[in-house]
Amino acid sequence: MAEMRPVDIAAASPASQTAEEAVSLPPEQPSTPPREWIRQNLFSTPFNSALTVVFGLLVLLTARGLLNFTFSEEREWDAVRTNLRLLFTHAYPEEQYVRIWVCVGTIAVLAGLSVGLAATTARGVSVKRLSSGLMALGAVVALGVVLREPSALSNADGSVRRNDSGVIRESFAEAMVDRWGWWLAAALLATAGAALWFRFGDERRRSTFVPSVELFMGVTAIVVLSAWVYPWGHYAFTDGEFIAEPGRTVAMSTKLPWTVMWLLLAVALAAGRRLRQAGAGSNFTLALNLCWLACPFVLYWVVLRDPDLDWDRVLSVDIPLGVLFAAGGAAVLWLLTDQRIGELGRIIAALLLGLAAFNWVAAFWGWYPMLQKVRLSFLLVALAALLAHNFAGDRSKRLRLLTVWAVVMAVFHYMATLMNSPSSVETPTEAFVGGFGVTLVVAAFTLLLSFPLGVMLALARTSKLPIFRVMSTSFIEVIRGVPLITVLIFFTIILNLFLPDGMEISVLASAVLGYTLFSAAYLAENVRGGLQSIRRGQFEASDAVGLTALQRTIFIVLPQSLRVSIPPLVGQAIATFKETSLLAVIGLFDVLRMANNVIPAQTEFLGVKREGLLFVCGVYWIFAYSMSKRSQRLEKQLGVGER
């Protein structure tokens, strides 16, 4: 809720309106001819010229080294191509693989709708920049072709030919001829750029903008289509041969599924735009954001995990329990929102909290057995009771609270039932998803859970009540003073010893838990920075209009402070995503461990490690870079730093 409010404000604010309608474009920069630009910026003084030459050479040498490494005949890229499935989903079974695509598709649809619905403030890329960019890209490809050392000659059996002084390479001229494919690519890129340049003849038309969404869709379309021409995708190692797209099931291939994903994205995008034109209100945006929030839970527990529900138990235990707690809790809430109850209400709430806490304490001594979710339900009832007085009022207001309560209970008991059911996805090892999947799962759940916790910690740290302040401050300082790897090891090894008898927690769950606490402590400090930027006047004004503390926090303080803290929050989110690679250390099979330990231990690819590591770098970079780009867009939309 809180995090999307600023979006609404920004959408309504006049600043973004003007940007959207592009009424006042920034003044046109008089463009300098390239020769003049080079003279002014690269070779202005002898010293600068020397710097340019030295560092230019350094860059070229580095590029040459990287190219030689990547395209060397000794690189076994088959290790990556064959193990793509292992790297991304570990052992997710073939016959259920379509579930992975359902997840990707759901995310594509949600992303398409969100982008389509969002008010576009960014103008995208001008035709001029696009065409010069394409031409530059063509030049870079051509430069790369020249830079890379000539390929090694190979024997009839495919091994590299050598003599005493080392590998025998073809001549430079031969190499240039052999790389005609790359030349063609460079020429195509440059021609496309030039064609654009001349097609949009004059300066005015060249400054028309290609929206970045269309540009993205175009580039991805080319990538997806290229998979139909060249087999990038899944390879299998069968009987000593590498076979592209073994094609056991359609879901295991790359072409068709990715094409479908692209189409889904395109359709959702179009639908989102249509909805925006039709004037779909903020209610729709709210629903979409709720879908985003629910998405990790539903995709993980319902789609990927495919719970095998035991209907006897569901009907005899789970549903009755849910109904009992929904009804019991509703009765308590109805009572506590009675305006006549006064101080007694708080006493009852405190007693309920005591009862809930007692259930947990009792669990440690094993005094009386109880389903875990019953304990949690009691806790939820107690928490709702503590907050109830905020919602005291007339009948309709109280009824609305009860409805919310019923929905909360339904969702909670549904999720608890799903989590308690065994998965029907059969994998040889215990975890049913691994590789990059586990990275995404841990990152998504950690971010989702640590955000509210971090906000609460920040609020507690700035609270007037000393007990909250001390608790929150000491928690934050303790966690921030301990390295993440220590927290993770502590949670995976030590936590099980502290849990009540008979209760166990999987490595993945304890990792997410520890990681959430760690990330929350850092988020809390970022949010606190935002909280401190709120001026006194805001508090006084909200007191003056008679808002309660809760209302003031939700409607006045948080929207403003969260908006300010977006840059550090996104930085924290990216760091969280990248640091999931530490999971390899605590024994989870994430993408890094696959590349570092598992693939080099395969008989076919013994010791082949560098290729996998380079690939993993690429995957991490793509995700982290797009997150950072997205946050820049968000900052622009919200006008952070403009006020």
Partner: protein, 395 residues
Amino acid sequence: MTKSKSVLWRALAVLFCMSLIAAACGDDDDDSEATQEPAPVTTEAAAEAEPAEAEPAETTTTAAAADVIEDTQDGDLLQTVIDRGRLNCGVSGSAVAFSETDPEGGLKGFDVDYCRAVAAAILGDADAVEFTSLTAAERFTAVQTGAVDVLIRNTTWTQGRDSEVGMDFGPTTYYDGQQLMARSSQGFSSSSQIRDIDGAVVCTNSGTTTEQNIADAADAAGVDITLNTFQDFDIVTTNFINGACDIVTTDGSGLVGRKAKQQPDDQEWVIFPPTPISKEPLGPTYAQNQSRFADVVNWTVYATIIADEKGITQANANEMAANPPDAEAERLLGGEGELQTAMGLAPDAFWQVIGQVGNYDEIYSRHLNPVGLSREGSANAGWLDGGLIYAPPAR
């Protein structure tokens, strides 16, 4: 006054109802727990966001706050596995030829096949195994706490480990030993000895016993070496190929695999000394004082060895069961006078092992031959061929 009093009564009534619910829930759970199977235990409920929900059905053991280790020792492990219907087996998941992960995510290898063999013996189904990939640091804790029933993760049997609380070792399935590998261009041959390595740069991976072993061996031979350690053996090999290391050392099985797969065309690698500098008998490890389960694991290994001796293979297991060559083979395959029933297994348990997984030689050649390890002339040849692979008689 009366009004607030009535509110109080209503509040108390609600509280009373809630406590009734609590009591009822407790009972519910007791009943369901009693009828339920060992419960969809935590392994399935991976990645719970909240700790509490990781727990499928809360425990009912009200008394007996038993220590975890004792807990595994109290019950009969064999019966537990039979009731569960699955064998939990700890492997490495990243050990070439012993337990490697294939591109589809499945596990294969010498150790993996012994897990499957034990499952075939106990449950009659070689696929009824749940593998847990364990790091070297985690493996013993996993056995001691009962997280895995049996650990088959190229683990060396040593006195210290055997006498440690909570662990027993089964028969050795593979006799390994630390050796050295060098380039023949530097004057080494497969008959070189430790005394020939004076002044060499020797590399190995850190944090293992190989480091200590080579230092001790060099001391004993009175030679000076420079010992460099790296994080893992992939990096050691890269440095060896580049020439940063003159000699690398680790278990012989590892060296043979590296030589077969990574020796560049312009180098000739040799492995020496012929007698390894350390003894590394690898075999299964299981919880202490579980003699019924231990018997089953041990005799599964022996059954594969006896089958190898008698020439019973995966292909001819049916035929052999119908026309056994001798009385021992007949007993082993579940014929007259079979001994498996007394162990708590099905009479045809070992027939299942051979039929579904194979005999020792088949398991060995399936996984270890491709990386260049041959049985012939090694300690892993059968005792009739001068090796150490030997099984007590099945009678």
